[in-house]
Symmetry: none
Subunit: 453 residues, 2 copies
């Protein structure tokens, strides 16, 4: 990596702990000069919880909160578990409201309440409000630190007030204009403010036609709006239209990573909490649940096969060829499933055009089915010439039926889940391949039983 | 863009063209004294292309290039379309290489090549390099519109210059500090600038320790750096450390969507060009290539099965159970593959910790293998009691071996591709399941041939 920090000698967790024994002051100095993400990397490289806890002691309070927020949730909770309420308060005090709320969510409910109770009243209100929103909505994403002004103020006054009260606000790029009831009526960039004449009234400069989000909107939708409008920040309003917070593009970048990982993991039959840093046994347990589901569906497919044991006993070639029919259906179905799930996530497939997507996917299934039917008929006839053209015809029909089923199931399953307000990515490969396995084995072996033996 | 000019009455384009008729020398003198941004504004205020072309004649060669670069691309191209190669060369000669490259991109390819051929060798090299920026690198992503100042300037002067020339820069949130050689030495937010005392020297306010990217860095890496440092914009430097552009978070949001879709598609054996809007035949063709690859790998697995036809003919239960062994391996392998591919994409798996990830995945495979071996041994013994404990033992061993192979292949394949500088997501499910199918069928049927019949 070529960022500026690459030329700094890398401090390993072992070195750090060695240094702690000899020269605590020097260690604090080194850690104090490191970037939060570097400190997070350092904590992640610790070999065990004890090492980590020891190292945390030396990270300055001012940045410890931000460092903890960079860590995977499991590690975060583990570190915070041994903190006293007073220590947590010291950390929280240095964070923006949205980060403070996020961190408090990783703490025991009782301790979090105790910490919140100690904060000063305005901060307490802010955080209590933020904690009341679902983590995965605009409300859970926003921060309450923002700068709002009245439309009747002149530029001069805004700059004055801004200079007095805006210093603490990070990434302040927009000023929000509200009316007497705190309803959001306009947005103004710092940039515009800088170029304005001192005596001009703010309401004359503010944009009144601008994107905003509702506190209850899903974070995935928020990310889509950011992408659509190419903005660096968006105001958040509550149901009455009152300005309650703002979301900045850097938070949206994190959301997009998270949502993409979640969809990718779900499609692959993984829990979205699966993490590189967790222990073998935890990971094995998480994945085991999905493997167990897959085992049940695989047994279902095997039950189908067992219905045709007599046929297979007569023509063993069927056992050789049947996995090909199932496998092709599985891959084609996964292709469709992935396109549909991603299309829904990106907002490109909506209720309005779902039917068109479905028709297209089924058509693709039929076209591919036709092509690979011919290919497989040829392969089967050459491989098992003693079974003649009939085996070729049977595998061709089975291939067509299964690729059609793949296109149908690959689109109907996620579209239905979406309709039912369930994450469409939960229609993972496991469920899809059950359909293609069952349809593939049943059609192929069924036709063979009727026409071949 | 960063030099100052005395106040000058604004000259309208109509006035200028009137003056041209009466006193060309005076017009040249006036235009020669104007700042490039003012000249660009003058050109933009022209009512039509003919007016604009006429006026361009009077703008001195020394600054014409910079003026043209201030114009929107469409206008730029329109003006340059009537230039002779010699005239373009005269303009390009007065430009920094990156500006020259940008300008040449607005010119017909043939004419651009002719102009580049006439330049002196070092300049030619520079420009060829800039023109070569891959679309998917920081260089291809960045915009050159930015605001740079000298560290020796006081805040007051920066604000003055900014007010005069910064108006056109979209999403201007940071001011970049460069030295005499245009090397990037600091970054300053508009926000900080606004709160500073007028007489303070910029170099005292600027951050000198800040993230930056190299023009040649991959856009995926750029996105990771944005995520790591939570910034809204990052400066781009060339190999010598000169500031060449900046990237804003809204561009990164687009990149992240694109990269996540690409990885998701590749894992699902889809071309990243697969699109909802394209025709059934185009989609069927794109996916058909991957289906054909899968067909070959499925046939390979079937060839393995065919080696054991005699065994299957004797014990048909093997044909019933063998898809379960293969399927469990496929799902477990896909879980590992997805975690590793995503970990690499997010920068969490690097060369340094790859071994740890590999060991973990293989361990998870062994643990799951152990658990599901016991489960399957029980299921098989209950399902086919006539085959006794021996079938159970055989399927248990096959399950363990295959889940071990799944963990190994699921991590080794993408890590090796990454090592070879090939996109690890290309290790799609298709390739992985070939391994788990072959290992599963071979182990299960092989053991059965030795111990069961």
């Amino acid at each position: 990596m070529s960022d500026t920090h690459s030329n700094r000698p890398l401090l390993g967790s072992d070195d750090a702990l060695q240094l702690a024994k000899w020269d605590e002051a020097r260690l604090r100095e080194i850690l104090g000069g490191m970037h939060v993400s570097e400190l997070a990397d350092l904590l992640l490289s610790c070999r065990n919880d004890d090492q980590r806890r020891l190292l945390v002691e030396y990270i300055p309070d001012e940045c410890l909160g931000e460092v903890l927020l960079e860590l995977p949730e499991g590690v975060q909770e583990e570190v915070l578990a041994v903190f006293e309420p007073q220590e947590i308060e010291d950390v929280v005090e240095h964070l923006d409201s949205d980060d403070a709320a996020d961190l408090l969510q990783a703490v025991d409910k009782e301790i979090a309440d105790e910490v919140i109770g100690r904060l000063d009243p305005s901060e307490r209100r802010d955080i209590a409000e933020l904690l009341s929103h679902d983590e995965e909505t605009a409300g859970g994403l926003m921060q309450s630190e923002l700068f709002k002004v009245r439309g009747s103020w002149p530029v001069e006054k805004v700059l004055q007030v801004l200079r007095r009260f805006g210093r603490e606000i990070e990434n302040l790029n927009y000023v929000y204009v509200v009316d007497d009831d705190d309803l959001l009526v306009g947005v103004l960039s710092l940039h515009t403010l800088l170029f304005a004449e001192p005596e001009v009234m703010i309401s004359l400069l503010a944009q009144t036609d601008f994107p905003r989000v509702m506190a209850g909107q899903d974070q995935e939708e928020v990310a889509r709006l950011f992408e659509k409008y190419d903005v660096l920040a968006m105001p958040v309003v509550n149901a009455s239209g009152e300005l309650v917070g703002r979301i900045t593009a850097d938070d949206v970048i994190d959301v997009m990573r998270e949502e993409a990982t979640e969809d990718m993991y779900r499609l692959a039959a993984l829990s979205d909490q699966d993490d590189l840093a967790e222990s073998v046994s935890t990971t094995a347990r998480r994945r085991g649940i999905w493997l167990a589901v897959n085992l049940l569906t695989a047994i279902a497919a095997s039950v189908v096969i067992s219905q045709f044991e007599a046929t297979i006993a007569q023509v063993v070639a069927l056992a050789v060829l049947m996995p090909i029919v199932a496998s092709m259906g599985g891959i084609a179905g996964t292709q469709t499933l992935t396109v549909i799930v991603r299309g829904i996530a990106l907002g490109r497939i909506t209720f309005a055009n779902a039917r068109r997507a479905l028709i297209k996917e089924v058509s693709v299934g039929l076209v591919s089915g036709g092509v690979f039917a011919v290919v497989m008929a040829t392969v089967a006839s050459l491989w098992f010439p003693e079974l003649g053209m009939r085996l070729g015809a049977i595998i061709a029909v089975a291939m067509m039926v299964n690729l059609f089923a793949a296109g149908l199931a690959g689109s109907v399953i996620p579209l239905t889940l979406q309709r039912l307000d369930i994450d469409p990515a939960l229609a993972s490969g496991t469920i899809l391949t059950t359909v293609t396995d069952v349809v593939g084995f049943f059609t192929f072996l069924g036709l063979a039983t009727i026409f071949l033996v």
